[in-house]
């Protein structure tokens, strides 16, 4: 019930159909019932009226005969009366009419009392009150009654009653009982015909409504489908406009809107493309002068033994800054590649455990005492781009060393069935909770006033996050001021899967004891 209600609410065509069917059923019912009543009443009343007139005529005629027969002897009169009774009963047997003659006021001759009642008829079918009226009246009367028989049968019918004066015998009440079953039968035929006609009407209205719905609703449905496609990103989808009606103008407006949205989006895309191109071009254009600069600096640097101390130191600084500049440039280029979604994964199968060890050794050979590396004994084979994963590790480890204030840095690897996680934990400065959302932003610094000690570009974590995302991995950070930071990289072991569980919890477990 509720479900169907919801369905009706959801579908415009169903709503229209149900409404129009409801109205047409009501109209058909009202018309049908009133026509039926009218026809039924007319049929019955007509029958009664005709019967009444006929009866009156017959009685008048019979009365005439009786008057003429008055001059005959008793047996002659008797014969006329009997003939009349017989003929009226015989006539009645053909038309389903029953004749009842009852004595009412007797006069003289007792011997010849006429009384005729059909054998099975229950005399109560003629109500006492009606008999009273007939006795009083001078004309023929009628009344609707139910005709009952002693065998239990009942028929709807009517009664016509009159008086008959039989000379020398007295006044008799004569009643004709007409059954109306034939009329009711025809009325029921009419009823069924009307019902069928009504049904047909409702059906036709339903069909025509369906047709109208198709004409009106299906373009609306099409519009809805097109709009949905448009929402899902297919900016080229348009409504088909083939006529001049309101629906066509809806389609036209929709299409105009679609064109303007598409243009706007294209303009914005173009702008951002231009910007990305610009960053990429700038990075590339800077490379040639930087090459010259580097070579010149190296040539000077190689000769530094011949210069005085200030110039020698200057050449060192020059080289260092060129290194940093170069790093910044290649990071910028990488960022522009991510922005252009042009970064490609070179997926191979490799041992990530080995990669972690190699990265730690390669990065800080002089600070190896600082590191605590916890890796499982057996190799961990995963599918990924080792160059990018190494870059993430390098960023995290360098970060930890830079902010670790000389305390130890713990690097651990743990695996689950489908994931591998690498946690890099330092016990240095840490960061405020409110800074957490900005950690991975480009060029973001926790404390702008703090001196920059490392050669970091400010893009490292942002690139690391993008690299992790490319692998469908997760890179999360935890930190507390003066308690250090914990960065956890979680990667699916197989390329194309996503991370379902986290082998290393983000909140470091060595903290729980100090907090409690």
């Amino acid at each position: 019930m509720l479900l169907s209600k919801i369905k009706i609410r959801q579908s415009l065509s169903l709503k229209v159909l149900v409404t129009s069917l409801g109205f047409s059923i009501i109209i058909a019912a009202v018309i049908g019932i009133s026509v039926h009543n009218r026809v039924a009443t007319t049929i019955i009343n007509e029958k009664i009226a005709i019967s009444k007139v006929e009866t009156a005529n017959a009685l008048y005629l019979a009365q005439g005969h009786f008057y003429i027969a008055r001059f005959q002897d008793d047996s002659g009169l008797n014969k006329v009366v009997q003939d009349f009774i017989t003929s009226s009963r015989e006539d009645g047997s053909l038309s389903g009419r029953e004749t009842v003659i009852l004595p009412f006021a007797k006069s003289g001759n007792e011997q010849s009392v006429y009384q005729t009642v059909p054998t099975l008829l229950v005399l109560d079918s003629i109500p006492k009150s009606f008999r009273e009226q007939v006795r009083q009246a001078d004309e023929v009367l009628d009344k609707r009654v139910t005709i009952r028989y002693s065998d239990g049968k009942e028929f709807p019918g009517f009664l016509i009653g009159g008086k008959l004066n039989i000379p020398r015998t007295g006044v008799y009440e004569i009643y004709y009982l007409f059954k109306l079953d034939a009329q009711y039968q025809s009325i029921s035929v009419i009823t069924w015909t009307l019902f069928a006609a009504g049904l047909l009407l409702v059906l036709l209205i339903g069909l025509s409504t369906q047709f109208v719905i198709k004409q009106v609703v299906s373009p609306v449905q099409q519009a809805a489908a097109v709009a949905e496609k448009f929402t899902q990103g297919d900016l080229t989808s348009r409504m088909s406009v083939s006529s001049e009606d309101e629906l066509a103008s809806l389609g036209k407006s929709f299409n105009e809107m679609a064109v303007s949205i598409q243009q706007q989006i294209a303009r914005l895309e173009n702008l951002s493309l231009l910007q990305q191109r610009f960053v990429s071009d700038v990075s590339h254009e800077l490379r040639t002068p930087l090459t010259t600069l580097r070579m010149a600096a190296e040539v000077i640097y190689e000769q530094k033994g011949n210069f005085d101390a200030n110039i020698a130191r200057s050449s060192e600084l020059l080289i260092n800054q060129i290194d940093r500049f170069e790093l910044l440039l290649s990071d910028l280029l990488e960022v522009s590649r991510f922005d252009a979604e042009a970064a490609a994964l070179g997926v191979v199968n490799f041992d990530i455990s080995n990669l972690v060890k190699k990265t730690v050794d390669y990065l800080h050979p002089s600070k190896s005492a600082l590191f605590e590396v916890l890796t499982p004994v057996e190799p961990i084979q995963i599918e990924g781009d080792p160059r990018r994963i190494e870059r993430i590790l390098r960023n995290l480890i360098t970060n930890a060393v830079d902010h670790g204030e000389g305390k130890k840095v713990q690097v651990q690897i743990k695996t689950s069935e489908n994931e591998v996680a690498i946690g890099v934990r330092d016990y240095g400065l840490g960061f405020n909770e409110e800074d957490a959302p900005y950690l991975f932003d480009r060029f973001w610094r926790a404390d702008p006033s703090r001196a920059r000690t490392s050669g970091g570009t400010g893009l490292g974590l942002s690139i690391a996050l993008e690299d992790a995302k490319l692998h469908q991995g997760q890179l999360l950070a935890w930190g507390k001021p003066q308690q250090g930071a914990h960065f956890v990289l979680t990667l699916p072991k197989l390329h194309g899967n996503s991370v379902q569980s986290f082998p290393i919890a983000l909140a470091p477990d060595d903290l729980v004891s100090t907090e409690n």
């Binding site: 590339h284 040639t288 002068p289 090459t291 010259t292 600069l293 580097r294 190296e298 060129i322």
Partner: protein, 224 residues
């Protein structure tokens, strides 16, 4: 003294390159336009060409193709775009190696020296019916000499020297190209393809340079 032709439209960079290379004991010819390369090449053939990709006149890729039509001289491309298909295009056009700007001068000199190195080796090597004459720097197949660049020859000789060994791409990069640490393995792929197209009868079903899936390459075994 080896003669290096430096083709670059950036005057300052070209001059700087010539300072560095002269300092490393080489002679340098400078060219600024792509369409001037062939004229100078014909009059004063260099031992190695340092070629920028973006050049006025005709670009570095085209220049590379033109040179390869005439000569097997080593070509090292200079590119500002390390990642784009420029690199692959350059290698396919016949360059032996490439340097991504900005590079360190020591690295450039080391790379050039590897390409110029002509270690006198004695004896002949062979893969199946292929004869590799190290003295004469010739490869002979069915009695005919096949023209290979020096890099292609070195690649083939490296494989032929140790017939059973499977070389990883990294091992080849270090032996043939002289890279100290991991570099672009596309270099190896492209040059193996080029080498195959020259020596194999059917490059799709190689006999001499075989691929070992997931590992690298090895020399084909002699048929029994």
């Amino acid at each position: 003294m080896p003669l290096v032709m430096v083709v670059d439209d950036d005057q300052d960079l070209a001059e700087m390159l010539s300072i560095v290379l002269t300092g490393a004991g080489m002679e340098v010819d400078l060219v600024n336009r792509g369409d001037q390369v062939m004229d100078l090449f014909n009059t004063n053939t260099p031992d190695l060409i340092l070629l920028d990709v973006m050049l006025p006149g005709i670009d570095g890729i085209e220049v590379c193709k033109l040179i390869r039509e005439k000569s097997m001289v080593p070509i090292v491309m200079l590119t500002a775009k390390g990642d784009t298909h420029d690199v692959v295009l350059g290698l396919e056009a016949g360059a032996d190696d490439y340097m991504v700007k900005p590079f360190k001068p020591q690295e450039l000199v080391a790379r050039i020296n590897t390409r110029l190195r002509r270690v006198a080796k004695v004896g002949t090597l062979g893969i199946c019916d292929l004869v590799i004459d190290q003295m004469e720097h010739k490869v002979i197949k069915n009695g005919k000499e096949i023209a290979l660049t020096r890099l292609e020859f070195d690649l083939l000789a490296a494989l032929a020297k140790e017939p059973g060994r499977v070389f990883t791409r990294e091992a080849l990069l270090s032996e043939v190209w002289g890279y100290q640490h991991a570099a672009d393995t596309r270099l190896v792929n492209v040059h193996v393809q080029r080498l195959r197209s020259k020596i194999e009868s059917d490059a799709d079903n190689p006999e001499y340079v075989l691929t070992v899936r997931g590992v690298g390459y090895k020399a084909g075994a002699a048929k029994v």
